[in-house]
Symmetry: D2
Subunit: 388 residues, 4 copies
C-alpha cells in the first residue's frame, strides 16, 4: 500500500482524482469519506484554491438579520450568513442586530486601507542603513513605478522605515482593490527590492520579510498602522432601549467596562472588546475569505461613552480586517452565493463587505456584553432572594 497521496500532474482537479484520494484515505484510515465527497461544484473550479483536493468540509450556515447598516458603501438591511458550529453564536448576533436595528442601525466607516510586505535590508553598520533610508525616501517615485508595474490593481501608498542595529526594516503599504492582496504585494515588493538592490550600492543582503509585515499574526503595528481595512463601527443605544430589550441599565454597561479594561490590560490582551473573532470568523468562512487571517483581523479597540441623556455610544475599531470580494476563495460555489446574498460579490464591493462585517461585530459585542451583565444581574438577584 503506497504511502504517496495520488496526484495527477497533468490534470489533478477532477472528480476522478478527488475520488482516488478519498479512497486512498479510506485505505489508510478505514474511514469512509461519504459526506466529504458531497460537493456541488466541479473540482476544476477550485484549482488555485487547494491542492490534493478530495472533498469539502460542510460548515453549517445560519442567517442573522436584518442588520441595518449606515455605511458609505453598505446601506440598508442585510441578512448575514454566519458559518459556524458553535451553538448560540447566530442567536446572539441576531439579538444584537435587533437591538441596533431598534436604535437606528450601525454607522460604519472604513478609515484606512493598506496591505503590506515588509522586507529588511542589511548593511555594514547603522549609518549605512540610515543613509539608505534617505535614499528610499528620495527614490520613492521610481520604486513605486517598479512595484506597480507588476500588478493591475495594487498601488504603492508609502513605505515606513524602522531602524535597528545595521538593518533598515521597510514596510511597504499598498492598496489592493477588491483583493486581499497578500500575494499581489509580495510580488510587487519583490520586484521593488530587486530594483533597489541593483540600484543602491552597499546592500549586503536583503530578506523579503523582516518580520514586520506580521502576516497571519497579530501585532501592535497592525493596531497602529492598520493591515487590510481599518473599520470603525458605531452605534448609539438609548438608555431605555438598552434596559427594556437587554435588561441592563446603560450605566452598568458603561461602568463595568472600566473593571474589565483593567483585567484586559493586566492580561496583556490584544483586544479590548469581547469576541469580535466570532462574527468575523463566521463571515470569513461563509464568504470565502482567508480564514487564517482571523489571527490579525480579530483584534479590536472598543470605546464607550454615556451622554447626559443616558444614551450609550459604543464603537469598535477593527484595525486590521483583511477582506476580499474578488480572488481567493470568493469565487467558490457557496462562498460566491453568500457574497451575493450580501450584494458584495466581485469588484467594487470590498468596502461594502468591510462595513457589513464591522456592523455585525458591533451587534455581537452589544449582545454578549449585556448578556454577561444581565446574567450577573439575575444571579445577584437570585442570590439575594435566596437569603430572604
Amino acid at each position: 500500500m503506497s504511502t504517496r497521496i495520488p496526484r495527477d500532474k497533468q490534470n489533478d482537479y477532477t472528480e476522478t482524482m478527488a475520488k482516488r484520494r478519498r479512497e486512498f484515505a479510506t485505505q489508510h484510515s478505514g474511514t469512509e469519506l461519504d459526506h466529504v465527497a458531497n460537493y456541488s461544484f466541479n473540482p476544476s473550479q477550485c484549482a488555485g484554491n487547494i491542492e490534493n483536493f478530495c472533498g469539502v468540509a460542510q460548515v453549517p450556515i445560519g442567517l442573522a438579520g436584518p442588520l441595518i447598516v449606515n455605511g458609505e458603501h453598505a446601506q440598508g438591511e442585510f441578512y448575514v450568513p454566519l458559518a459556524t458550529s458553535e451553538g448560540t453564536l447566530v442567536a446572539s448576533y441576531n439579538r444584537g442586530m435587533r437591538l441596533v436595528r431598534e436604535a437606528g442601525g450601525v454607522k460604519v466607516s472604513v478609515v484606512d486601507d493598506a496591505m503590506q510586505r515588509a522586507p529588511v535590508f542589511i548593511f555594514d553598520d547603522a549609518r549605512q542603513a540610515r543613509d539608505f533610508g534617505h535614499w528610499i525616501e528620495e527614490n520613492f517615485s521610481a520604486i513605486k513605478e517598479v512595484a506597480e508595474s507588476t500588478t493591475n490593481s495594487g498601488k504603492l501608498r508609502n513605505i515606513e522605515q524602522y531602524a535597528a542595529a545595521r538593518m533598515l526594516y521597510l514596510r511597504f503599504n499598498f492598496t489592493t482593490g477588491d483583493a486581499a492582496g497578500q500575494n499581489m504585494v509580495g510580488k510587487a515588493c519583490f520586484f521593488a527590492c530587486e530594483w533597489i538592490k541593483n540600484n543602491y550600492p552597499g546592500v549586503r543582503k536583503y530578506l523579503l520579510s523582516g518580520g514586520m509585515d506580521t502576516d497571519k499574526k497579530h501585532s501592535q503595528i497592525n493596531t497602529l498602522h492598520s493591515r487590510g481595512k481599518r473599520v470603525i463601527a458605531e452605534a448609539v443605544i438609548p438608555g431605555e432601549l438598552m434596559q427594556t430589550m437587554m435588561g441592563v441599565p446603560a450605566e452598568v454597561l458603561y461602568k463595568t467596562r472600566a473593571v474589565s479594561q483593567v483585567g484586559n490590560f493586566m492580561a496583556g490582551s490584544i483586544n479590548t472588546g469581547l469576541h469580535s473573532a466570532n462574527g468575523i470568523t463566521a463571515i470569513f468562512i461563509s464568504t470565502g475569505q482567508d480564514v487564517a487571517n482571523v489571527a490579525e483581523s480579530s483584534s479590536a479597540v472598543t470605546f464607550a461613552d454615556l451622554d447626559d441623556d443616558g444614551n450609550y455610544y459604543i464603537a469598535i475599531t477593527i484595525p486590521s480586517l483583511i477582506v476580499a470580494t474578488y480572488g481567493g476563495g470568493t469565487g467558490l460555489a457557496t462562498q460566491r452565493e453568500c457574497l451575493e446574498l450580501l450584494g458584495c460579490y466581485g469588484k467594487g464591493n470590498v468596502y461594502k463587505l468591510a462595513e457589513i462585517i464591522g456592523a455585525t461585530v458591533l451587534a455581537g459585542e452589544l449582545s454578549l456584553a449585556s448578556a454577561v451583565l444581565a446574567g450577573d444581574w439575575v444571579s445577584s438577584h437570585d442570590a439575594y432572594g435566596r437569603n430572604r
Copy 2:
C-alpha cells in the same frame, strides 16, 4: 415582504425550515442559494451547533501527508485534511511534511492543559480584596467541590489571583477532558462564584468575566499560563537534508532568524513564528473546532538551534491550542469523518489531535521559512548573475 427571518419555534431544524430561510434570503437579495443548499446530513443533526440553519459553506479539503508524528498519543503516519481556499497552503504543508518525514518525524508533547473562566470580585478597598484572596486559597477544596458538581469531566485545577485597585481578579483553571470546555467551565465557575458570594461576607459585586480569561482573543497571559493545550513540536533536520531538499543551508536559516526576531519584537508581534494560523485554521475547519479560537490558538513561540554537526533543531510552542474531539462541531457529518481519518473522533483522543496539529504546524513553519530564504537565495543569485 416580511423582514423577519422564518423560524419554527417547535421544530426549527428541518429541511422545510432551512428551505424557507433560503427562499426568504432569495426574496430579499435576488440570490439563489443552490450550492448552500447542498448538504448531506439531516438538519436535525446540527441542533446545538447553529441557529436559523439554511445550508452549508462548502470549504475545499486537500490532503497532506503522510506526516510522521512521534507523540505520546499520536504515533505513526497521518494524512491531514486541510480545509482552505488559499492556493499553495496544502502544497506548502505537504512539502514540510516531506522534509520532517525524511528527518524521522516530529516529536510532539502536550505539556500543559487548562481552560479558564476568570471572574472578578469587587470590594470596598484593596485590603479587603487581598484578604479575600487568602480566603480563596484556604477554601479551595470547597470551591472545587462546588465547581465540579456541575460537570462530569471538568476538574478545577487551581485558581490564579491578580490584584488591582479594590478588585481581585481570579482565573479558574479547569481540565475539561475531550471537550474544548468553554461552556463547561463557564457554568462551573458561575456556580463557584455564587457559592463564594454566599459564603464570603463583604463581596460588593462580582462579574463572571473580569477580562482575564481572554476568550477569543490573544493575550500575554495565554502565552505564559496556557489556554487549552500547550503543545510543543520539535524536529531535528540534518544540515545536508535541509540543503538538498529545501535549497537552504541550515546555518542561513538559523542566522536569519535573529534578523526577523528583531523585526518581530519592534512590530510587537505575538508570534515569533511565521504562519501557524494557516495550518491550525485549516484543521480547525475540517475537524469541527471552534474556528474563532484561531484568535488565541495561532500564537506561537519558536526556537531554533544549530548543533556542532550542522543539525538544525527547531521547536514551536503553541501555548493556547483550543481543541476538542468531543462536543461542539466535532460530531457534524464531514467534521466527524475528518476526525476519524486522523483516528481522533470521540473521547480519549484530544491529546492525539493536539499532537497532530502541533506536528502539522511545525512542518509548515519549516516549509515557509526555507521557501522565503531560498527565494531570497535565488534572487540574490539572479541579481549577482545579472551583473556578470
Copy 3:
C-alpha cells in the same frame, strides 16, 4: 599622560584617591570638579556602593507635604523629600497631597511581595523539560532549604514554571526582608540551581537567567506576578472638593479617562496612569534606592469610579515597586537622613516606605490629571470667549 584611571588596590575609598581621580579627570578634560568634590561624608562609607569614587552629584531636594497616609505600616502625616531637577514636579505633587489631605488621605496597601531570579534549564526535548518540572514541584522543600541556607532574610516562596521548546524556565520568588534583594536572591538561586543540577539527571545545561526575571526592565510578567512590592494606593475625592480645589468636575476626569485609555492601548503603553515615574524617581534618589529600578517600578495600572453621590474613587496599582530600607544606598549620608525624615530607616520599615511612595504617586496622578483637564477647560473657555 596615562589613560588609566588611578586606583589603589589596598585602600581605594579615601579622600586621597578620590582627589587623584578628580585631578586625573581634570587633566584629561580640562574641567575642574569643584562641586563634585563637595561631599560631607568619609569616602570609606561608600565602599560597596561605588567603584572609582571621585565625588558626588548634588541633586536638589524639595519638600512636599504633609501627605496623609492611611497605611497598615505608614500612618499619619509625612513630609516627602523629592530629589529632582525638574521644575514644578515638587509643586505638582504638593498640590496633589493637599487635595488628598482634604479628602482624608490616601489608603495604601502592600498586597504582594516577591523578588526573582529566573534560571532556565535546557534538556534534550520538551518531554524531559516537562518531567523535570514535576520533579521541581516534588522537591520544592529541599530546594527551598538549599536556597535559604545562603541568606539570613531571604525566603523562597514558590517557583513558577514556563515551558517552551526543550527548555523549562523557572522563576524563583523570594521575600527579602527590608532589602531590595536582587543580589541575595541571585546567590540563593545559584546555589539552588547547582544543587538541582547535581541531583537531577539529564540537565543538559542551565543558565542562571533565562530572561524571565526581567531585572531592570519592565515586563508583562511583572505586571501580572509582581516584582518587589505590589502596592495599591486608593483615595476617594468628593466631587465638590475636586471642582473647588482642582477646577475640574469629577465627571469630566472620569469620562476623559476612557478616551486616554484608548490612546494608551493603541500606543502599547505599559502604564495606564500618567507619570508615576516622576514621584518614584524623586524618592528613589533621595532615599538611596537603586534608581535604575525605575525601569520596572514605574509601570502602573489605574482605575477610577464615580459613585452615585459624585465621589471620585481613584486607585493606582504599582505592581513592581522595588524598594529597600536596609542595604544598598540606604545607609549613605543624605539618603539615610531622608529615610529617617520619613521614619523609614533600617529594618522593619520597607512596607512603610512602600506605602508612602504609593500614596505620593497617587497624589501626583490626581494633580497632573486635573491640571491637564483644567488647562483644557480654561483653553476651551478662552477660545470660546474669543469668539464672542
Copy 4:
C-alpha cells in the same frame, strides 16, 4: 507646631528658606538634615529646578573609562561619570569599556530624533474624525507655522495620525535642539491645537494629551517611532579577545541569546538586552537629565551576529533616549561639571552626549552578558569537578 511647609512667596530660593525648611522637617521628624544641608551652590541657582528646596541628595560618582567612541559627534576617549549607589556597577561598565577599547571602540549613530505631544480630537463620528485627518495633512504648513512661533529651537517635523472610534489621535513630532524639549513641545502643541480648534469647524472637544505621547512611560510606539534620540551602538569583538578577556567563547554568547530571547518574549519584556537602565540612570543622574525618563529611555533592542571568522557583532538600539545638554538640570553645579568632563555642556552637544551614552550602554551589555555566562561556565566546571 504648624504643618505648613515654610515658603517665602517673594524670595524662596535662599539659604535662609532652605534652612527654615530643614528645621521644619527636623521639628516634625526629629531628624537632623546635616548632610542634606551640604551643598556647594547658591540656592538661587536652582530656581526653575525645584520647589521647596531644602538641600541635596549626595549621590556617589565613580569614573569609568576610557571609553573609545567612534561617533559622528563624539570621537575619541571619554571618562564617564556614573552616579549610583549600586556596588559593582562602575566596575562592570569599566570592564566592558576595556573590552570594547581593545576591540577598537564603539561605533554609535543617532538615526532619529523627535519629541512628542499627542493630543486627541473628538468628533461626532468616525467619518468626521477621518475627514479632519485629511484637513490636518493639507494644513500642515500653517500648523507648523503656529507651533514654531512659540519656540526658538523647536521644529515641527510631522504629525502622525491614529484613528479609533470618533477620535483622531495626533502625534506631533518636533526636533528640539539641545533641550529634551517636553515643555517646549507641550506649549507649541497647545498653540497649534487652539489654532486648529478655531479654524476647523466641528471639533467637539480636544485633549492636549490623548495618551499616545506616553511621557514618562514606555510604549511600543516609542520603540517603533522613537522618542528623544534613537541611538544605535555597535561593536565587533574578535572571538579570541572575547575568550581571553571575558572567558567566554563568542559562540556561546551568540547561541545562548536565542534561549534568553524566548524567555524575554514569554515574559513580555520591553527590552531584549540586559540592563541598559543601569548605565543610563547613572549618567542621567550625574549629568542633570530628567531621571524619570529612565522609564522610556531604558527600553532597548539588541541584535548579535557571528561572522565566519568568529567575530561577534553586537548592536544595541535605544529607541527613546531622552537627553539634553541645555536647560533642565544640566546647568546645576555638579551636573554641569560632569557634562563638561564629557565635553558635552551647552548647545550643539546633545548628539555627542547621546552617542557617549549609547557606547556606555553597549559596554555594559557586553560586560554583564559575559559575566553571567562565565559564571555559568565556572559553576558548571565546579560541579563537574566535584563529581570527579
